[in-house]
Point group: C2
Chain length 400, copies 2
């Protein structure tokens, strides 16, 4: 391990992710979650897969649609996956939009709206769902809907005050979440149906992250800053989300990879990873701590030291990508630490899929596999991305 | 213990709560938190009392004002307490109201608004702060402000749609928190400056709790129900908050006590306590679990099994009150379990006061003593209430 992964180890990893994705994770959810009566998916499930609520979370409906269409587009043209993506697309299109063009957050099984939020994450996940489904079906009409909704997201992300705010204007702040999700949405759009706007927007969002959120002097990626990029020295402003920042790092590494391993972007992604590994990895119990204070003060959130599934998915992708792009063995070491921690603590060997929420010591805090925020996304995306990445890497090596 | 507390044990408890309140809890906060420059209090503090943020949470500014005025009114006319209550009152009055008469939730040290919420808890805590301060100063003008604001709270609590909602009208729901906070607010108002509206309103809120939230058939107090009192069989509707329901139980027992130990109300409070003790007490590690699902399914909140300080404060009051009112030794047993768990796990023997947030196993999850939600309220109120209650009980016994 001191020299990184051997080719044999990379083959083993590729086989492992492939098997987990197709024999464990995806079968936990599908086809049993297809709602052939009302459309969309029934995804709020307990450890063994029993439905605990038939409500539908719009984020997750979009993400599941994206996943199924993406499996169809990239792994095999299974009609079952296409059928599922169609159920998801129709439900989103028919029930999840309000009359003002914005989307709901939470709807009933039949699609009646329960809650709409100030954020536009429902919209960004619908963009990638629609784009992937447009590619799967070849429908230009669906592609146009995806591009139109992406245009709305650009407006929400860039026009100050267009969406209502939780806060007054006394202490303006901005989060890294917006440029991050917009980078990933644009990347997905570009890689499925193509969109001329994407490259230059991605450039500008990466520049914003580098300029305003990445603090080289203190080796940190901020989660929230003032509009000019300065640190807001109050509890919220000091709160870091290491797993989220590592997710942002791999979006940037992915962009670097697409741009012939652009060195500046590769270095930026690796710096972000290095900084937040140091702040996020729990040296006592292993795993990634959810929140940290930039000055090690107490954070507001009392559950700050819990281990959530998704930061581990994102960090696993980030470390593998950094390793394969740079060959630096430290990324292989960190990838192995994360992979071993995650598959031994989060994975449920009895029923498949992962638990979502562990106490700091690694014991399970909550057994739901699906709820308002967790569904078939981060875990299958990680397994799918790593599988694709290793396939390409190993294929490339073989060709040489 | 099988026969309940002895008189000697009750004396010991009285001395303990008195000492904790006056030698440990209150001195942790005051006078160092008085903000003589901008008014109000600086309450966001780490374990050792270091300030971690100079922002001001409006709930907590009101609660601290109530506490200081109440200590002045009921324990001793200390000028330092009166001065502190005045700092709090002035800050609330000057900076914490929006132009529409509603209050903010979170302001800067200087009183600039940061956030306003859809709920009116800032207002209810300001009512009890103003009422107690009006009594301390004898000011009829302040008393009038308290009564006026209480009138606004009655409107917010009873006129549907007067405040914006987080949810659409698809699945209407109501929480036990509104009738509970209104009962306590009315009780405080009545006991400080008096208000003719209180008795009948308290009756109607208790009736609402009994009719719509207390489910004798399944031995449960619901946290949220449909407007007609039926259980909403979705994740949110099934979620119970045992510590909160036990707080509601003591508000009702307190009312029973004031009404010459009204038997119907005493029985109602005791049933609520019994039901939620069975659902909330953690048989594995001790302490009160934060959330439970009415059907033992997973709850949405991943931190659902944490132990928070305040449910323990409220349950300690509830069990002691139930014991002294009924003489039933089971309440003394539960009080002793709670008291021992709480003072051995939450109390900080080095710096005083309590930690707020423990993992399920009792280890400390977050070290702040004060933040946006925690400040000088539940703990000192518990110590003050139990001290007053035991004083009165022992005095009464002595007189017989």
């Amino acid at each position: 391990m001191g020299n990184g992964y051997t080719m044999q180890q990379l083959h083993t990893l590729k086989d492992f992710y492939t098997k987990q994705l197709l024999k464990d994770t995806v079968p936990f959810w599908f086809p049993r979650s297809y709602d052939r009566e009302y459309g969309g998916f029934l995804l709020m499930r307990d450890a063994c897969g029993t439905l605990i609520d038939d409500d539908k979370a719009v984020w997750i409906q979009g993400r599941a649609t994206w996943l199924l269409a993406t499996l169809y587009n990239t792994i095999a043209p299974e009609m079952e996956w296409l059928e599922g993506a169609g159920l998801g697309y129709d439900f989103l299109d028919r029930y999840c939009f309000d009359t003002d063009g914005r989307m709901f957050f939470h709807v009933t099984r039949k699609g009646e709206p329960l809650r709409k939020r100030r954020y536009f994450f429902s919209e960004t996940f619908a963009v990638i769902a629609m784009a992937a489904y447009a590619k799967a079906t070849g429908s230009e009409a669906v592609a146009e809907k995806a591009r139109h909704l992406f245009g709305k997201c650009i407006e929400y992300a860039t026009i100050p005050g267009i969406l209502p705010s939780k806060f007054t204007g006394t202490r303006p702040a901005k989060g890294i979440g917006i440029p991050m999700i917009m980078i990933n949405t644009a990347q997905q759009l570009r890689e499925t149906i193509g969109d001329d706007r994407c490259d230059s927007y991605i450039d500008s969002w990466i520049q914003e992250i580098e300029r305003d959120f990445v603090k080289d002097d203190i080796r940190c990626v901020m989660e929230q800053v003032a509009p000019d990029g300065s640190i807001i020295d109050h509890v919220d402003g000091r709160t870091l989300n290491p797993g989220h920042a590592m997710e942002g790092a791999w979006f940037i590494l992915h962009e670097a990879s697409r741009r012939n391993n652009d060195q500046r972007l590769t270095a930026l992604g690796c710096r972000m990873l290095d900084y937040m590994w140091d702040r996020g990895w729990d040296p006592v119990h292993g795993g990634i701590l959810y929140f940290r204070d930039v000055h090690d003060k107490p954070v507001q959130e009392y559950w700050q030291d819990m281990k959530f599934w998704w930061p581990h998915n994102e960090a696993i992708i980030a470390m593998l990508l950094a390793y394969l792009m740079t060959g630096d063995p430290k990324y292989a070491e960190r990838h192995a630490l994360l992979h071993d921690y995650a598959y031994s603590h989060f994975h449920d060997p009895h029923h498949g899929e992962w638990f979502g929420y562990l106490h700091r010591d690694g014991s399970i805090a909550q057994t739901a596999k699906g709820n308002l925020y967790k569904g078939p996304f981060h875990l299958p995306r990680q397994e799918w991305y790593c599988m694709q990445l290793l396939n390409a890497h190993l294929q490339n090596r073989q060709d040489k």
